[in-house]
C-alpha cells in the first residue's frame, strides 16, 4: 500500500519535472524553437525520465529485499535458545511471527518472545518504509534538479528519450522469452524434484497410477504409484476420438467453402463456424456433461452396451466439435494457397471439380493439411476444461471409448487444486505431467509450423 502512495507521489513529481523542463527549454530560446536541438516536449520528458527511473529502480529493489533483510535482523535478535541455529526451526519461528503480525494468532496465545519479535518486526518495517520514502523522494528530486539545471539549447534531449523508449520496447519484446524461460524453469525445476522421488523410467513406462499419499506411515499402499502410461493412453484415446470427428468434418467443410460455395453462402457459413471457435471451453464442458454424455449413455443402454457416465466418447466427441473450426480455417488457408493454374490444368484435361480437388488440389495441399492436423492434435492434447468436466478421474488402462479414462490435463488439475503442501510427490507429479505436456505440444507445434511454412514457400 505504501509503495502505491510512493509511486503516485513519484508520478506527480515527474509531471512537475516534465512541465518545468518544457517551460525552461522554451524560455531558454525565447520561443525561437529553431534554436533548440529538440522540441521542448523532449526536454520535459528527459527531466521526467531522470526523475522517475532511478527512484523507481531503487523502490523495486528495496521492496524485493526488505522482507528478507528485516527477517534476518529479527532472527538475529531472538534468543539463541528458541531456535538453536537450526534453519527449519527458524522458518517455523518466522511463520509464527508472521501469524501474530497478520492477526491470525491473538498475541495472548503466542509465545512472549514471538510477540516481542513481531513488535520488533513492525517497528523495523515502519523504519524501513520511512527510510525508503526519504531515499526515493530525494533521488527523484535530485534527478529532476540535476537534469533541469543542465538544460541548454544544444542538448540532444530527443535522442536520449528515444534511446530510452527503444530500450523499453526491447524489454517488452523480450517478455516472450522470459515467459518461455519461466515456463521451462518452473516446470523443469519441480520435475527434477519429482524424479528424485520417482525414477523417470517408472513414470514414463509404469502402468499403474494412484497418486494418493498416506496420511500415516503405516497405512496400506502408502507409497503411491506414479506410472503415467494409463494417462498417456487416455489422452491419446480422447484426442483420437476428437480427431476422428474434427478432421473429416473440418476438412470437408473447408473444401466446400473454398471450392464450391457461392460467396453469399460462404460469408454466412464461415463466421458461424468461427462462432464455434469463440465459445469458451468450459461451455463445451457443460454441454458434454449435460447433453452429450446422457445421450450417449441412453443410446448405449438401448443397444445393450454398458457405457460409463464419464465415457471417453462423450469427451472426445465434444472436443472434436470444438476443434472443427480450427481444422477448417487452417485447411481453408492451405487450400486457398494452392495456385489456380493447377486447377485450370486439371479442368483443361476434362476433370470434374471433385476429381480436380481429390487428385490435384489435395495432394498439392497435403503437407499443409498435415501440418494443420498436427496443430489440431496439439490443441486436443492440451485442452483442459472439456476433459476435466466430462472425462473421468481414475486412470484405467483401456482403449475402449465407452469406458472412463483420464488425461494429462485432468490429472494436473486434480492434483493441484485443493490444499496440499507444495513439495509432496503428488503436487510435484503434476509438474512432471506438465513438462511432458509442454514438450509434446511444443514438438508438435514446431514441426507443424515448419511443415506449413515450407509448404507456403513452395508456392510463393
Amino acid at each position: 500500500m505504501n509503495q502505491l502512495i510512493l509511486i503516485s507521489v513519484l508520478l506527480l513529481l515527474s509531471l512537475a519535472a516534465y512541465q518545468m523542463g518544457r517551460r525552461r527549454a522554451f524560455r531558454l530560446v525565447d520561443g525561437q524553437l529553431r534554436d533548440l536541438h529538440s522540441l521542448p516536449v523532449y526536454y520535459g520528458l528527459y527531466a521526467a525520465m531522470w526523475c522517475v527511473l532511478p527512484a523507481l529502480l531503487v523502490l523495486i529493489a528495496w521492496t524485493a529485499f526488505d522482507g528478507a533483510v528485516i527477517g534476518h535482523l529479527v532472527v538475529a535478535q531472538l534468543p539463541e535458545s528458541l531456535h538453536g541455529g537450526d534453519a527449519g526451526r527458524i522458518n517455523l519461528l518466522l511463520n509464527d511471527i508472521r501469524n501474530v503480525r497478520m492477526g491470525l494468532v491473538p498475541p495472548e496465545s503466542a509465545d512472549s518472545a514471538v510477540v516481542s519479535a513481531a513488535q520488533h518486526w513492525d517497528r523495523l518495517q515502519g523504519m524501513a518504509y520511512a527510510a525508503l520514502a526519504v531515499v526515493v523522494l530525494v533521488l527523484a528530486v535530485l534527478g529532476a534538479a540535476f537534469t533541469l539545471t543542465r538544460i541548454h539549447p544544444q542538448q540532444r534531449a530527443r535522442n536520449a528519450v528515444e534511446r530510452l523508449v527503444m530500450v523499453l520496447m526491447m524489454v517488452a519484446a523480450s517478455v516472450a522469452i522470459l515467459t518461455t524461460l519461466g515456463i521451462v524453469l518452473s516446470v523443469v525445476f519441480e520435475s527434477i524434484l519429482f524424479f528424485r522421488l520417482v525414477p523417470v523410467t517408472e513414470f514414463l513406462f509404469g502402468t499403474s497410477w494412484s497418486p494418493q499419499m498416506a496420511m500415516r506411515a503405516d497405512q496400506v499402499g502408502s507409497s503411491g504409484a506414479f506410472g503415467a502410461v494409463p494417462i498417456f493412453v487416455g489422452t491419446a484415446l480422447i484426442s483420437a476420438i476428437a480427431m476422428v470427428v474434427a478432421v473429416p468434418i473440418g476438412l470437408l467443410s473447408a473444401i466446400y467453402l473454398s471450392e464450391y460455395a457461392a460467396p453469399a453462402f460462404r460469408s454466412v457459413a464461415k463466421p458461424l463456424l468461427e462462432v464455434l471457435a469463440g465459445i469458451p471451453t468450459v461451455v463445451y464442458g457443460v454441454f458434454a456433461v449435460l447433453v452429450v454424455a446422457p445421450a450417449i449413455r441412453s443410446w448405449g443402454m438401448s443397444l445393450g452396451l454398458d457405457v460409463a457416465s464419464e465415457s471417453a466418447l462423450a469427451a472426445g466427441l465434444v472436443m472434436g466439435v470444438m476443434i472443427i473450426p480450427f481444422v477448417s480455417s487452417l485447411s481453408d488457408d492451405v487450400i486457398n494457397a494452392v495456385p489456380q493454374s493447377l486447377r485450370d490444368g486439371a479442368y483443361a484435361l476434362g476433370a470434374t471439380p471433385s476429381e480436380t480437388i481429390r487428385k490435384v488440389v489435395l495432394p498439392a495441399a497435403l503437407p499443409g493439411i498435415v501440418g494443420s492436423i498436427m496443430l489440431a492434435i496439439s490443441r486436443a492434447i492440451g485442452e483442459t476444461m472439456i476433459v476435466v468436466m466430462a472425462a473421468g478421474l481414475s486412470a484405467n488402462l483401456s482403449f475402449n471409448p465407452l469406458e472412463s479414462v483420464t488425461t494429462v490435463t485432468v490429472q494436473i488439475v486434480t492434483l493441484l487444486t485443493g490444499d496440499q503442501e507444495f513439495d509432496s510427490p503428488k503436487t510435484l507429479a503434476a509438474f512432471a505431467l506438465g513438462l511432458v505436456l509442454f514438450l509434446v505440444t511444443l514438438g508438435l507445434n514446431v514441426i507443424a509450423l515448419r511443415v506449413v511454412n515450407k509448404y507456403r514457400e513452395q508456392y510463393e
Partner: protein, 432 residues
C-alpha cells in the same frame, strides 16, 4: 475363335459411358461438404438451444407473499435505536411465525421443518433490510414478497415433475399441497430475478448470483488489459519497425509463435510456480489471474499488432522521414495511429479469449467458494467461467439452471466484444 472384328469404341463413347458415374461422384462429393457444414452448424444450434432452454428460467424467481409480524420479542430487539441489535436480530423466528400463522394446522416437528423450507433463508435478509430502512415497522405486520425455497422454485419452473410418485421426487405431496394453497390465494408469483444478477455465490441455489464472478472477471481482465496493451504494442512496434534482423530477433519471433500454441494450463503452472510460490502473491487474487492471462494473451496481441503495422504502406513512413521526422516520431505520430484500429481489434479478440479462459485460473486457486463480491485486485475472487465450472459440479437441481444462465451471460459478453471488434474493423479498416 471368331473372325468378327469388334469396332474399337470411340473416345467420346468411353467418356460418355463413364460420365454418369463421374457426375454421381461429383454430386456425392458436394453432398459430403454440405453435410459436414450442416453437421457443424447442427452442433452449434444444439448447443445454443440446450443452454438457453435450460437457462432462461434462472432469470425468473418464484416469490411468496408473507404476512410477517416484526414482533420485538421474537426478534430479540430490546433497543430499536441500536443498529447492531437490528442487524443481528432473529428474523428467522419471525419468518417461521409467519409460516405457522399461514398454515396453523401444521404441528409436527418434521412437518414444521418441511413448512419452513417453503421460503428461502434469504427471506431473513429482506426482512432485515425492511426494518433497517424503516425502523418504525417494529411491532407491526408487514406484507413482504420473499424468494421461495429452492425446491418450490424448481417445481414452479417445471424442473421437478409433479406426476412422479412421491418417493421419487424431492418435494413431498404435503409441500405441494401447501404450495397449491398459496397459489390459489395468489400469494406465489414469478418475478424477474434481480438477485441472480446482483449477488455473489451461495450454497443454496435460489440465493446464488453471478455478480461476484462478473466483478472477478472484470478485475482480472482490467489487470490483463493494463499490462498486455502497452507491452503488446511496444513489442509489436519494436519487432516490426526497429528490430535488426539477427539471431536474437529470430529467437524472439520463434518464441512468440510457439507461446501462442502452448496449452493454457501450462501458463497456469507457470503462474502457480512463479507468481504464487516465488513472488508470494496471494492465491485466488485477480492480480495473479490477470498476470497469467497477460502472458497468455500477449503472443496473440503481438501477432495481431504486427499484422496491423505491416498493412500500413511504406509510403507513409517515407513521407514522414522525408519531412525530417525521426524514426520513432514516424512510428508514434503516423504509423501507429493508422494501425490502431487493427491493433485494437486484435486486443479485443485477445481479451475475449482471456474472458472465456478457465484452466489457468484453476491452477492459481481462483476456484474457491467465495461469497463476497471482490472489491480490489488483492481480494479473493472467482471469474465467470470458473463460476460456471463450479456450479456445473454442484448436485443441486437449482444450480443446473444457474449454470446455463451464467453461460448465457458469459456468451452475451463474448458476443458483444466480438461484435465490437467486427464493427471496429468495418468502420476503420482502410484498404491501401
Amino acid at each position: 475363335m471368331s473372325n468378327q472384328i469388334l469396332p474399337l469404341p470411340r473416345p467420346v463413347e468411353v467418356i460418355n459411358t463413364g460420365l454418369g458415374r463421374r457426375r454421381a461422384a461429383e454430386r456425392r462429393f458436394r453432398l459430403y461438404g454440405v453435410a459436414a457444414i450442416t453437421l457443424a452448424l447442427i452442433f452449434l444450434v444444439l448447443l445454443f438451444i440446450s443452454i438457453i432452454g435450460k437457462g432462461y428460467t434462472a432469470f425468473w424467481q418464484t416469490q411468496v407473499q408473507m404476512e410477517a409480524t416484526l414482533a420485538p420479542e421474537l426478534l430479540d430487539i430490546a433497543d430499536p435505536a441500536d443498529r447492531n441489535q437490528v442487524m443481528a436480530a432473529n428474523y428467522g423466528a419471525v419468518m417461521k411465525a409467519a409460516l405457522r400463522q399461514a398454515f396453523p394446522e401444521v404441528t409436527g416437528r418434521a412437518e414444521q421443518r418441511q413448512l419452513f423450507a417453503l421460503v428461502s433463508s434469504g427471506a431473513e435478509d429482506i426482512l432485515r433490510q425492511r426494518l433497517l430502512d424503516d425502523p418504525s415497522l417494529l411491532g407491526q405486520t408487514v406484507s413482504v414478497w420473499v424468494p421461495a425455497g429452492g425446491d418450490i422454485d424448481m417445481v414452479r419452473k417445471g424442473h421437478i415433475d409433479r406426476s412422479l410418485p412421491e418417493s421419487e421426487r424431492r418435494v413431498s405431496d404435503q409441500e405441494l399441497a401447501w404450495m397449491d394453497a398459496l397459489v390459489q390465494q395468489g400469494r406465489i408469483e414469478q418475478r424477474f430475478n434481480w438477485q441472480f444478477l446482483s449477488t455473489g455465490d451461495s450454497r443454496s441455489p435460489e440465493q446464488a448470483g453471478i455478480w461476484g464472478a462478473v466483478m472477478g472477471s472484470f478485475l482480472t481482465l482490467a489487470v490483463t488489459m493494463l499490462l498486455s496493451f502497452p507491452l503488446g504494442v511496444a513489442a509489436a512496434v519494436y519487432l516490426e519497425e526497429f528490430a535488426p534482423k539477427n539471431r536474437w530477433t529470430d529467437f524472439i519471433e520463434v518464441n512468440i509463435n510457439n507461446l501462442a500454441a502452448v496449452p493454457s494450463i501450462v501458463f497456469g503452472l507457470l503462474g502457480l510456480a512463479v507468481f504464487i510460490n516465488i513472488f508470494g502473491l496471494p492465491r485466488s487474487a485477480p492480480l495473479v489471474g490477470g498476470l497469467v492471462l497477460t502472458l497468455m494473451t500477449l503472443p496473440t496481441i503481438i501477432i495481431a499488432g504486427r499484422a496491423a503495422l505491416k498493412s500500413v504502406p511504406p509510403s507513409i513512413r517515407e513521407a514522414a522521414l522525408g519531412v525530417g521526422a525521426s524514426p520513432l516520431q514516424t512510428v508514434t505520430n503516423h504509423v501507429l495511429p493508422l494501425a490502431m484500429p487493427g491493433i485494437l481489434t486484435g486486443m479485443i479478440i485477445g481479451m475475449a479469449r482471456a474472458l472465456g479462459e478457465t484452466a489457468p485460473l484453476l491452477m492459481i486457486g481462483m476456484v474457491a467458494f467465495i461469497v463476497d463480491v471482490p472489491k480490489g485486485v488483492f481480494d479473493p475472487a472467482t471469474a465467470l467461467p470458473v463460476q460456471i465450472y463450479l456450479w456445473a459440479d454442484s448436485p443441486e437441481l437449482g444450480f443446473a439452471e444457474r449454470t446455463s444462465a451464467a453461460i448465457m451471460v458469459l456468451l452475451v459478453f463474448l458476443l458483444s466484444m466480438n461484435a465490437l471488434a467486427v464493427i471496429l474493423r468495418r468502420r476503420f479498416e482502410r484498404r491501401w
